[in-house]
C-alpha cells in the first residue's frame, strides 16, 4: 500500500529478449521495466518512463544471486520458465541462452526499429 501502484510477482512479468528486461504493463500503455542486474542488486522497484506510477517486484533473490555485475543476458524467453533453479555456471548459462535464442523476421524488424 502507499507509494506503490502495485506489487507484482515476477512470474507475471514478461521477458524482453531485445532490451534484456522484465516488463509489466502500466495502465498508461507504457511498461514498468527491471533488469536482471537490478534484481541481483536487490533493487526491486520498477518505474514507468511515462508516468509517476511505480511497482515493487516480488521475487526470490536466490534466482538472481549468481548474476555477475555485467551479465545482462541468459534469461529464458518465456516467463513461465523462470521458476527453475539455476545450477549452471555463467558460461553454461550463456551457451544455453544462445541455443535458446530464436530470431524470426518480426524480431529482426524490431531490432532494426530499435537501432
Amino acid at each position: 500500500m502507499g507509494a506503490y501502484y502495485d506489487e507484482i510477482e515476477i512470474e507475471d512479468m514478461a521477458w524482453d529478449e531485445v532490451k534484456s528486461v522484465y516488463h509489466y504493463p502500466c495502465p498508461c500503455g507504457d511498461r514498468f521495466e527491471i533488469s536482471r542486474k537490478q534484481l541481483a542488486n536487490c533493487e526491486d522497484i520498477a518505474t514507468c518512463p511515462s508516468c509517476s506510477l511505480i511497482i515493487r517486484v516480488v521475487y526470490d533473490p536466490l534466482d538472481f544471486e549468481d548474476e555477475s555485475p555485467d551479465d545482462e543476458g541468459s534469461a529464458s524467453q518465456e516467463s513461465e520458465e523462470d521458476e527453475e533453479e539455476d545450477d549452471n555456471s555463467d558460461d553454461d548459462q550463456f551457451e544455453d541462452a544462445l541455443e535458446k535464442l530464436t530470431l524470426t523476421e518480426p524480431s529482426a524488424a524490431l531490432v532494426a526499429a530499435a537501432a
Partner: protein, 417 residues
C-alpha cells in the same frame, strides 16, 4: 439510405506515445481532439461510414471496425505496430487511422468472409471473420507473450495466424471445425475469452487463452494457456450474456442477470460480485469491477482498487479495506440520480453515458486516474467522483453521443452530427 444527412466524428484524449489517439501526433492530449482518418476530409470518418461497430485498444495501438452504408466493413488501425499488432504492412507507428491490410484476411475475404468482431490484448490483436453457412475463423497477430496468439509458443511469430480449436472437446465431443460460431470476443491485457457456440449438440462454451495463473481462465493449475482452453464454467443452464476482463480477473454476466467472477481478488475486484441479480452490464478496469443493475435506482456498483478514485465514491473504512457500493453521481436538484445508458472501463478510469434526470439529453461523465489527461478536462488530476466530461467547456462541437470507449489511459467519444 443513399443520402448521408449526418456525419460522424471520433474524439479521443489521453495517452498517445505511439499515435494511438490518431490525432496526427504522438503527444498526450489532455482535451478531446478529433481523430484523423487517412485520406479523409479533415477530422471526419470516411465517406458513407454508418458507424464504428467496435473499437479495441491495446497498450499503444487502436483498432476500429467501420461499417459503411453499403454493408461493407473495414478494419482501420493506428498507433504502435512494431510487434505486428497492426498486421505485417505497418510495423512502425501510425498517427492516423489507416486501413489495415492483411494478406491472410484477404484470402478469406475472397471466399466470402467479413471481419465482424475485433479485440485487442496488450500488444496482440484478434479478428473474428464470418461467412454465411461457414465456420467462423479467428485470426491473431502481434506479440506472443504469455501465449497471447493462441497458436502455441513454438512459433514466436507476430505474423497473422489462424487460431485452431480442433484440439478441444466439449462434453466428450470434439469441436466440429465446420460449426464454430463466435458470439463474442473480449480481451484484457494478458488474456482473451471467446463466447462460442460449437454445433447444435455442444451448446455454449467459454474458451480462452493467455495468462492463467491467477485463475482468470477458470483454474490456477497452469501459468498460462498458449492455445484455446475451455473454461470449466457451466453455462448451459444459464447462458452467457456478456463477459468483461480486467488485468487478472474475469466477470461473466449470465442471461438471468447473475454474475460469476473468477481470477485475482487481491484488490477486492471480485468482492461480492456474485451476489447481485438483474445485472445488465458489466465492465472491468484492470483492478476493479463495475455492475450496472436493472433496478429502479439505476445503480452502478463498483468494487476493487480505489487508489486513484476509480470506484467513483469515498471508500468507507472497513476491517479488510474492501468495499462495495454505488458510484456516486451528482444528484439533480430534485434529488434524483441520472439514467445510466452505458459504461466504458479503461485501465484505471471509467466513463458513463448518462441522461440527466427527466431529460433525454446525453452526457458523458468520467472519473478515476487521469495522469495522462485521459478525462479530457485539460488537467491531469485524478477525479474521485463522477463529473461531466462531455459536452466539454469551450468545445464547439455539438452532436449526439453515439458511443464511448475507454482504453489504457485513453478515452473515446463518437459523435453523430
Amino acid at each position: 439510405m443513399e443520402t448521408q444527412t449526418s456525419y460522424l466524428r471520433l474524439l479521443a484524449a489521453g495517452s498517445n506515445a505511439r499515435g494511438q489517439l490518431a490525432n496526427g501526433s504522438d503527444y498526450d492530449s489532455h482535451t478531446f481532439k478529433e481523430c484523423c482518418f487517412i485520406n479523409c476530409t479533415q477530422d471526419t470518418l470516411p465517406h458513407n461510414t454508418l458507424g464504428i461497430l467496435q473499437l479495441a485498444t491495446g497498450a499503444n495501438h487502436t483498432l476500429a471496425l467501420l461499417e459503411f452504408g453499403d454493408g461493407r466493413r473495414e478494419l482501420w488501425g493506428c498507433g504502435d505496430g512494431r510487434k505486428g499488432q497492426l498486421g505485417p504492412q505497418y510495423m512502425g507507428q501510425l498517427t492516423e487511422f489507416t486501413p489495415i491490410s492483411i494478406p491472410l484476411y484477404q484470402t478469406y475475404a475472397s471466399r466470402g468472409y467479413t471481419c465482424c468482431l475485433i479485440a485487442a490484448a496488450w500488444e496482440t490483436s484478434y479478428l473474428v471473420l464470418k461467412s454465411p453457412s461457414r465456420s467462423d475463423v479467428v485470426i491473431s497477430m502481434g506479440s506472443n507473450d504469455f501465449g497471447a496468439l493462441g497458436v502455441g509458443t513454438k512459433q514466436a511469430t507476430a505474423t497473422p495466424a489462424v487460431v485452431s480449436f480442433d484440439h478441444l472437446t466439449i462434453k466428450g465431443h470434439s469441436i466440429n471445425p465446420n460449426e464454430l460460431v463466435v458470439e463474442s470476443i473480449v480481451a484484457g491485457p494478458r488474456h482473451v475469452i471467446l463466447h462460442v457456440r460449437a454445433g447444435l449438440n455442444n451448446g455454449d462454451s467459454l474458451i480462452g487463452w493467455g495468462l492463467a495463473r491467477h485463475g482468470q481462465l477458470g483454474d490456477t493449475k497452469i501459468v498460462n494457456y498458449d492455445r484455446p482452453h475451455i473454461i470449466s464454467l457451466d453455462v448451459s443452464s444459464d447462458p452467457v450474456q456478456i463477459c468483461s476482463l480486467g488485468l487478472q480477473h474475469t466477470i461473466v454476466c449470465h442471461q438471468s442477470g447473475r454474475t460469476t467472477a473468477f481470477g485475482s481478488n487481491k484488490k477486492g475486484q471480485l468482492h461480492r460480485m456474485d451476489s447481485w441479480g438483474r445485472v445488465r452490464q458489466v465492465g472491468c478496469t484492470w483492478n476493479g469491477t463495475y455492475l450496472l443493475t436493472d433496478d429502479d435506482e439505476n445503480t452502478l456498483i463498483s468494487t476493487g482498487s480505489n487508489t486513484h478514485g476509480q470506484l467513483g465514491r469515498e471508500s468507507q473504512v472497513e476491517e479488510n479495506g474492501i468495499t462495495v457500493g454505488p458510484v456516486e453521481f451528482t444528484l439533480s436538484h430534485d434529488g434524483k440520480l441520472p439514467s445510466l445508458r452505458s459504461l466504458a472501463c479503461g485501465s484505471e478510469h471509467v466513463m458513463a453515458v448518462i441522461s440527466p434526470s427527466d431529460s433525454l439529453d446525453m452526457e458523458v461523465w468520467g472519473w478515476g486516474w487521469n495522469e495522462h489527461g485521459n478525462l479530457g478536462l485539460d488537467h491531469t488530476d485524478d477525479v474521485l467522483k463522477p463529473i461531466k466530461i462531455w459536452p466539454a467547456r469551450g468545445h464547439v462541437l455539438e452532436g449526439r453521443i453515439a458511443r464511448v470507449w475507454a482504453g489504457n489511459g485513453t478515452s473515446w467519444i463518437l459523435l453523430q452530427i
